[in-house]
Amino acid sequence: MLSSGQISAAKSFASETPQLVIRLLDGSDLTLALTWQRSGLGSIAIFTLIFLFLLFPLEGSMWRKIVWLEVGFILGVTWSFIRLSIAVLAAYHFGAGAFTVAEFLTGPFTDFFWIVSVWALALSAMISAKVNR
């Protein structure tokens, strides 16, 4: 994603957290700390909690539940990468302020859409198995 946007990125080793340095179109550098909040871990943690409390207690195969949990993890990590890429692209093209706006807009709102969608799919699979039984 980054290379397709022709964005030069570097990692600063002087920082406690991983840093992303983006050279903007005007030549200035934008340095971003890759905190855990930006990592998508928060969304994946919420997803896991929802699964633990709202899907695992239901009747049904444990393997089926675990498979859906894994699907959610993969989707969560993928979406976090896409989200950060969108925010970086926005910063590259429109300046530093655009990063915050893009992060805000692609943040919790869309996060939750995938969380509920995966949960609903998993639930429907559980219902389907229950009905077939």
Partner: protein, 421 residues
């Protein structure tokens, strides 16, 4: 300034967390505390009170005949029941259809209200019918409903308990597959009844009397002075009047009745706007008497307060979004970002008209509805809609209070009897 904004934000989040926990408990209760209908099994054969069915109708020619025909098929002994159709200043064939049934079946009566007398709302129509009712139990159906054949037995069985003042049956959407809006309404209804109402009944809280598919003792209604004609949602109003009078409302999940749900966003807006406004009106009216009452247990009072405030929750959610956005852009900190990440959970699951995503999920699971479960993410749209509806309803209510504008009258949903809009 920063401290005030942060405090307000955290306060709003705390309210949402409270509702979140409440509805999670409801979901667990519906899943694991499955009470059967023991009253139905024990009393249905021996307990047969006289019943009067009330059907308020204004311009319902498209659907009324279907309901009246269904009433002729009810299994309840006809000598124990009668049905009163209140033709409330209808301008279509509603009155004629009701008259035809009254001629054909002795247990049907029709009360015609002229334009000058009628047209003042459902409560006013029901109050006039109350004067004609003879049954010990009053059962109400809206004209677009279609009940199970043995619904009267199921509803009346609970009145064997003298503490029960009113009962509520389950509403299921008849035209679920018509439009996306009716599908979303079906989801909300499923969650609202199969989990929310059932859990409140099982936990000994306050199940809500819904104004249709429901029954109430006639002597109780008379002692309460009939339905409140100034209430926009006479059902919610009656729920709290029943409890304040020392009685209880029971929910009967097995007593199912089909309804024709709204099919367009415009109709959805009008319906929810009226519900929201009426519910808020009830909150202002009943909140303090509820807290002070000696007729309710502590758990009923807590649930009553939460129930009365439920239409303020979308407003709380909307405000927390605004505050959250302000903090995110103006005073960002790492710890706030953590809360911001969590906020949508509270937001999505705490909002509005019994449309909590996990409650709905548990309901479709219990009902075994595979395809309906796939639509759960779309509840996001009704969430956004409800937030706007509730904001508008609050503003309108405040405006009505300030200018002293009266709010009674029919604010009805148009029904087409299954014909596509």
């Amino acid at each position: 300034m920063v401290v005030i904004v942060y405090s307000a934000f955290l306060f709003l989040v705390a309210i949402m967390v409270f509702y979140l926990v409440r509805h999670y408990l409801f979901s667990l209760t519906a899943l694991y505390k499955r009470k059967g209908q023991s009253f139905y099994a024990l009393h249905s054969l021996s307990f047969r009170p006289t019943v009067t069915i009330l059907i308020p109708a204004k311009d319902e020619e498209a659907v009324l005949g279907r309901l009246l025909h269904r009433i002729t098929q009810l299994t309840y002994p006809k000598e124990q029941m009668d049905a009163i159709v209140i033709d409330d200043a209808s301008t279509d064939d509603t009155g004629r259809i009701a008259d035809e049934f009254a001629e054909a079946y002795s247990y049907f009566k029709v009360v015609h209200r002229s334009v000058g007398v009628g047209g003042k709302g459902k409560s006013s129509a029901l109050n006039q019918a109350l004067g004609h009712a003879k049954g010990e139990i009053l059962i109400c159906f809206d004209a677009d409903y279609y009940p199970q054949a043995d619904i009267i037995e199921k509803l009346t069985a609970y009145f064997a308990d003298p503490e029960v003042g009113a009962v509520q049956g389950r509403v299921t959407v008849l035209n679920e597959h018509s439009t996306w809006v009716s599908r979303l309404v079906a989801l909300e209804r499923t969650g609202g009844y199969r989990v929310d109402q059932l859990a409140r009944d099982n936990l000994g809280l306050i199940p809500q009397y819904g104004g249709t598919v429901c029954g109430v003792r006639r002597d109780l209604m008379e002692s309460l002075g009939g339905w409140d004609t100034t209430a926009l949602t006479e059902d919610t109003d009656l729920t709290f009047r029943v409890y304040l009078a020392g009685y209880k409302v029971r929910y009967v999940n097995e007593a199912e009745c089909y309804e024709e749900a709204v099919e367009t966003w415009k109709a959805y807006w009008h319906q929810r706007h009226r519900w929201a406004k009426g519910h808020m009106q009830c909150c202002f009216k009943h909140l303090i008497p509820l807290v002070k009452s000696r007729n309710l247990r502590l758990r009923e009072k807590i649930d009553g307060v939460l129930l009365l405030n439920v239409y303020f929750v979308p407003i709380v959610v909307g405000l927390s979004w605004l505050l959250g956005a302000a903090i995110f852009f103006l005073w960002p900190t790492n710890w706030f970002e953590s809360i911001w990440n969590l906020l949508p959970v509270f937001l999505y699951s705490s909002v509005g008209n019994f449309a909590l995503f996990f409650e709905v999920g548990v309901a479709v699971y219990l009902d075994g509805r595979v395809r309906l479960g796939l639509l759960i993410p779309l509840l996001l749209f009704s969430f956004v809609f409800n937030t706007l509806v509730c904001f508008k309803a609050l503003l309108d209510l405040c405006y009505s209070k300030i200018v002293g504008k009266k709010m009674h009258g029919w604010a009805k949903t148009l029904h087409n009897g299954g014909k596509t809009n």
